[in-house]
């Protein structure tokens, strides 16, 4: 073992004498006194240190310290109770934040709802279906159609409920829509109840009466023509012409035997349709080709293969979807048929997944595509049929020629034939009055009837209404009446048959008896017995006259009756549905009413409107207002309303009775709707202000002003000129200018001179319209530049003050100089000095100054205002001031301080130099100091290291 190892062990031994066996160490120590000394000394060190442990605080000190701690503890903050508050609160806060974040996230995701795009599937679809193959359509009725949204999983709409209320073929209703984000249906249903809202909608389906001319029907490609379904009522064996029996049913597919639950709107076909419904219900669910559908007529029929043209053209609907129809129609007797169709539609729209829908239609109608004249033939047939019915009543016997005079009719021995007066009143509502009346004419002609009276009137909105009195043979009364009912929607009907046989016979009898009386009277006149008595003759003649007149009267009544019996009367009132004409009133803020008027006129011209009246007037604040009464056709009504926004800002807009959809009605282009317009200009704050200009010369400025003012239609209304002390002139003017030109005036005036001050208020620019002409006043100040009045100071040294002073007074008198102030004093050395403030006219300043300067030796002279530029502007009469100081020469005395002063100064300089030098030295030291410190530090560090190195090597 060497000393190095031994020393390591020595350290350990000193630290813990019992740590291990020290035999090896002992051996070394026995032979190494240095190490032994080291061990001994180290142990002693430790012992000495241990002795230091005896030092400690005295008991007094201990008590006093404890007291101090206790005292301070009472006064000071209390012992904290466990984990600090912040420590405890932090995790809680973190938890709250976390929960809040989660909740927020959930709300954002879950609480959002989706707006449902409601598509009324069936009604528009129905429209499409009906429209595309058909130009004219009947009156579809839809009920209970279910509407589906785009993404079934996400949301679902409820069924659409339609309140069928066809007015002229329009269906209004409400769709109830709900939304939700759940896919649980039960819960969704609940939520839908909660959140459903109704969306009003209106479907317009054009309604046309049965086609006017069958030829038009022939052009159509379709195979339905609604409105002309021939429906036979098995009970009555009569035919009803017309009526629609369209039924749309897209639900209840699953339920067998359930058919349509709805009813047509037409009364005529109502009966038949019920029939249809009943029958269909009884059938086994609407599949095409089967017995089930189309049993309308109560007849048994055998299904025939569907007509070749039956499939609906595909695609069914234009636009988004495509589809095709399956099914077919079944021909039923009498030219009518029915069909059921299943239409598959696939709709794609934007981002939503495509939805496939299947719709079912059950339709009934009359296929007249192949029989252009079927309608007319049919009517003819009807007419002929009834005529033949009536024919047997008239016996084809050779008639004796009718006597010229009405022969007294013998009362019939056989039973008198009944005399029936048939009258009917019928009131129908139609789409096209003119077309309907034409058809009435045709029908009347065909029935060999005639129109006795016809009158037409125009209602509000151009809807026509008219009354036609038709005389028709009684045999055809019923037919014609029935036929007329089919021309439109029946509002009221009344058919009466009055049996006037008794009255007729009575009348005849009376006439007969009167005629007999007449004969007797005539015979009486002829008999001789009476002639003799003139009185009797007169009486007889009087009686004859009376009888005659009675006979004629009764005959007249009889004729009328016969006439009425002979021809039945139908009073037909045809009415187009009242049209509501919308009215609108708008208030528009325009920039300028003057220009808005022609703009409005151009607009009306473009849209085909009329200007009924226009009136413009000025409001109290100067703005113009215009009131215009305008009329525009219904077809362009909406266009006008939107185009009016071009005129200006629409402040108020009221529209009443606007029916959307009417715009395409045929009469829309003829009906005019009133629109009231109020155009007004925005009131603005009129400008006003003041302007202060600095000019060179007032006269020139005023002349320039007179040239500037007319450019802006301005004029000076008042002016006032003042002259300042320094001779310059200031003009205060009030200028009146129209508001619209105010800004221009300011700009124009700016050219007159330099703007010193400008204050304006109100809207300077953009004053147009009525307000532009309102007069405004501008306060204008034109000020000449301040003039430099010459002034100055002169210091003169004189020989003798008194003489100089006398000379001065001479000058003063001579030059008419004013003495504003003067004073003189004697200095300490006995010399005199005096100061004078002199007022000298600017024009004579130069001369005066030179005179003054001749008084003595000029020590100093400061004079302003006599330069060339100043002279040009100078007002000769302005008063300038010169401060003149005259003083006698001061006596020459040696200056005792000067010598000393110089020495002091030299000393001062010398010291200053010394200070500078010291400063430099100090600066040098300070600059070097850090470097010195660094050097010293390094040295110290090196020394330490060296020592350590030395110590370890020891």
């Amino acid at each position: 073992m060497n000393c190095k190892q031994a020393q390591q062990l020595i350290d350990l031994r000193v630290d813990d004498p019992h740590a291990q066996d020290w035999t090896a160490l002992e051996q070394h120590l026995a032979g190494c006194p240095a190490c032994a000394a080291l061990l001994s000394e180290l142990q002693q060190t430790r012992t000495l240190l241990a002795e230091l442990r005896t030092e400690g605080p005295t008991s007094e000190e201990m008590e006093s310290m404890l007291c101090a701690v206790n005292a301070e503890n009472i006064a000071g903050p209390a012992i904290t109770q466990g984990v600090s508050f912040m420590r405890r609160v932090t995790p809680f806060i973190a938890a709250c934040v976390g929960v809040a974040a989660v909740l927020l996230l959930a709300l954002l995701v879950g609480g959002s709802h989706y707006t449902v795009l409601v598509e009324a599937v069936s009604p528009p679809a129905a429209q499409e279906v009906l429209r595309s193959p058909l130009e004219t359509a009947g009156k579809p009725v839809v009920a209970g159609t279910e509407v589906r949204g785009y993404n079934e999983e996400r949301f679902r709409a409820r069924r659409m409920r339609v309140a069928p209320e066809s007015v002229g073929g329009n269906i209004a209703g409400e769709a109830y829509v709900g939304y939700g984000v759940q896919s649980d249906r039960a819960a969704l249903a609940e939520r839908l109840d909660q959140y459903s809202y109704s969306v009003p909608f209106e479907l317009r389906v054009p309604v046309a009466a049965p086609s006017a001319t069958p030829s038009a029907a022939a052009d159509e490609k379709g195979f339905f023509r609604f409105g002309e379904a021939q429906v036979a009522d098995a009970d009555d064996a009569k035919s009803y012409v017309g009526g629609t029996a369209i039924v749309l049913n897209s639900e209840n597919r699953d339920k067998e035997g359930d058919g349509v639950v709805d009813q047509s709107r037409l009364d005529v076909a109502g009966k038949a349709l019920e029939y249809v419904a009943r029958e269909e219900r009884a059938a086994a669910g609407g599949t095409a080709g089967g017995r089930g559908s189309g049993i309308i007529l109560g007849q048994e029929f055998t299904p025939t293969p569907p007509p070749a043209a039956s499939p609906l053209p595909s695609p069914v609907a234009e636009g988004k979807g495509a589809g095709h129809a399956r099914g077919g129609s079944v021909a039923v007797g009498g030219g009518a048929f029915a069909g059921a169709y299943e239409v598959d539609r696939k709709e794609e729209s934007g981002n939503a997944p495509s939805v496939a829908r299947t719709e079912h239609f059950a339709l009934a109608g009359v296929d007249l595509a192949g029989e252009p004249d079927a309608y007319d033939n049919h009517v003819d047939r009807l007419v002929e049929g009834t005529e033949q019915e009536a024919a047997p009543a008239v016996t084809p016997q050779p008639q004796s020629p009718q006597p010229e005079r009405p022969q007294p009719d013998r009362p019939q021995s056989q039973r008198p034939e009944p005399k029936i007066i048939r009258t009917g009143t019928l009131s129908i509502e139609v789409t096209d009055y003119t077309a309907t009346t034409e058809r009435v004419d045709q029908m009347v002609t065909r029935c060999k009837a005639f129109i006795a009276d016809a009158s037409t009137k125009e209602q509000q909105g151009g809807a026509l209404v008219g009354t036609i009195v038709i005389r028709v043979a009684p045999e055809q009364f019923a037919t014609l009446f029935a036929a007329l009912k089919l021309l439109g929607r029946v509002e009221a009907e009344d058919a009466q048959a009055a049996d006037v046989t008794d009255q007729y016979v009575d009348l005849e009898a009376r006439i007969h008896s009167l005629q007999i009386s007449e004969e007797r009277l005539q015979e009486l006149v002829k008999s001789k017995t009476i002639i003799d008595k003139v009185q009797s003759l007169l009486e007889v003649e009087r009686e004859m006259t009376r009888v005659r007149s009675q006979i004629e009267q009764l005959q007249g009544q009889l004729r009328v009756m016969a006439d009425r019996v002979g021809m039945s009367t139908i009073t037909l009132t045809v009415r187009e549905p009242a049209r509501t004409v919308p009215v609108a009133a708008l208030t528009i803020e325009v920039t300028e009413v003057e220009s808005a008027g022609p703009q409005l006129g151009a607009l009306l011209q473009e849209l085909g409107g009329r200007l009924i009246s226009g009136k413009t007037g000025k409001h109290t604040d100067g703005t113009l207002r215009g009131n215009y009464e305008v009329q525009i056709t219904l077809a362009r009504f909406a266009d006008l309303l939107s185009a009016l926004s071009q005129l200006g800002r629409i402040e108020d807009r009221q529209v009443k009775d606007q029916q959307f959809g009417d715009t395409n009605a045929p009469w829309a282009a003829k009906v005019y709707c009133p629109v009231n317009l109020l155009l007004y200009e925005r009131s603005r704050q009129l400008p006003q202000g003041s302007l202060r200009l600095e000019v060179d010369k007032l006269e020139t400025a005023l002349v320039a002003l007179q040239e500037v003012l007319p450019q802006t239609h301005a004029a000076v209304v008042s002016s006032q000129t003042t002259r300042e002390e320094d001779g310059r002139q200031i003009a205060n003017l009030t200028v009146r200018v129209p508001a619209g030109q105010f800004a221009n005036l300011l700009t124009g005036l700016g050219s007159l001179g330099r703007k010193l001050n400008e204050q304006t208020a109100g809207e300077l620019g953009q004053i147009v319209g009525g307000m532009a002409s309102m007069p405004r006043e501008l306060a204008l100040v034109l000020a000449e530049r301040p003039r430099q009045v010459p002034s100055g100071r002169i210091f003169i040294e004189v020989e003798k003050f008194a003489t100089a002073r006398q000379a001065l007074s001479g000058i003063i008198e001579q030059q008419k100089v004013q003495v504003l102030a003067s004073g003189s004093e004697q200095r300490t050395d006995g010399t005199w000095v005096g100061g004078f403030r002199l007022g000298i006219r600017a024009g004579e300043m130069e001369k005066a100054v030179s005179e003054l300067e001749s008084l003595g030796r000029v020590l100093r002279r400061e004079i302003q205002g006599l330069g060339l530029g100043d002279l040009a502007r100078m007002d000769g009469d302005a008063l300038g001031t010169i401060e003149l100081t005259m003083g006698e020469k001061a006596s020459m005395q040696p200056d005792p301080d000067r010598a000393a002063g110089s020495i002091r100064a030299r000393l001062r300089d010398g010291l200053a130099g010394l200070y500078n030098a010291l400063g430099l030295i100090l600066y040098g030291i300070v600059a070097l100091a850090p470097w010195l410190v660094v050097v010293l530090l390094l040295a110290w560090v090196l020394l330490k290291l060296w020592r350590r190195v030395r110590a370890t090597h020891k």
Binding site: L49, L52, E55, P57, T58, E61, M65, V69, I79
Partner: protein, 209 residues
């Protein structure tokens, strides 16, 4: 940490005055010694003791019992002493560039507990030796001196001392050994051991005699 200590902490937190006194009596000696050997001033030591215990009371709630009470107390003491020294230095406009826990002696060399009143002209040999040792201690570099004070004078285990200084045990031990060596050197240079040897010889001589 012992259960006794844990109990004491709990009682302290609860505001038990007796606990405070117990704590005080347990540790006041070592706390005072640290302060005393650093500052060489009884007043300073007293102030440091008070400051230490007050701080301990205030922050006993935050004490996480990861170290022994002794370690914690002396850590607080150390920082209180450092603050004290800094404050005094600031008051005296500083003596050295780096704020070491310099010896700031403003009183006479102390009297031992139960010892002679100050101002005694004749100091015994033992006192002289002790004074030498104290002076030698003051010449040590800060770290070594701290280790010696904590371990030898405040009677902290090496582990606890390491905790107070914030070092590893190994480093603490090494520093301790070096400190002893250094102290021995200084004392040797001061002739303490010679005197000791002479005293021993004297004693032996007296014994023989």
């Amino acid at each position: 940490m012992g259960t006794d200590e844990a109990e004491l902490i709990a009682r302290l937190r609860a505001g038990d005055r007796m606990a405070l006194e117990t704590l005080y009596r347990q540790h006041v000696q070592r706390v005072w010694r640290y302060g005393w050997f650093i500052t060489r001033s009884r007043d300073a030591a007293a102030e440091i003791v008070q400051e230490t215990f007050l701080r301990v009371l205030r922050s006993v709630g935050r004490f996480e019992a990861r170290s022994t009470l002794a370690t914690w107390l002396l850590t607080v003491t150390r920082s209180a002493a450092l603050e004290y020294v800094r404050r005094r230095q600031r008051e005296r406009l500083g003596r050295s560039v780096m704020p070491q826990l310099h010896v700031v002696s403003d009183s006479h060399p102390a009297v031992t507990a139960g010892g002679d009143p100050p101002g005694n002209a004749a100091m015994s040999d033992a006192d002289a030796t002790r004074e030498e040792v104290r002076a030698a201690l003051a010449t040590l570099p800060e770290a070594q001196r701290d280790v010696l004070i904590l371990h030898e004078l405040c009677e902290l285990s090496v582990r606890d001392a390491a905790g107070v200084l914030g070092w590893s045990e190994t480093r603490t031990k090494v520093t301790l050994f070096r400190a002893r060596r250094r102290l021995r050197e200084t004392l040797s240079a001061a002739g303490v051991f010679r005197d000791a040897r002479e005293a021993a010889r004297k004693a032996r001589g007296q014994a023989r005699a």
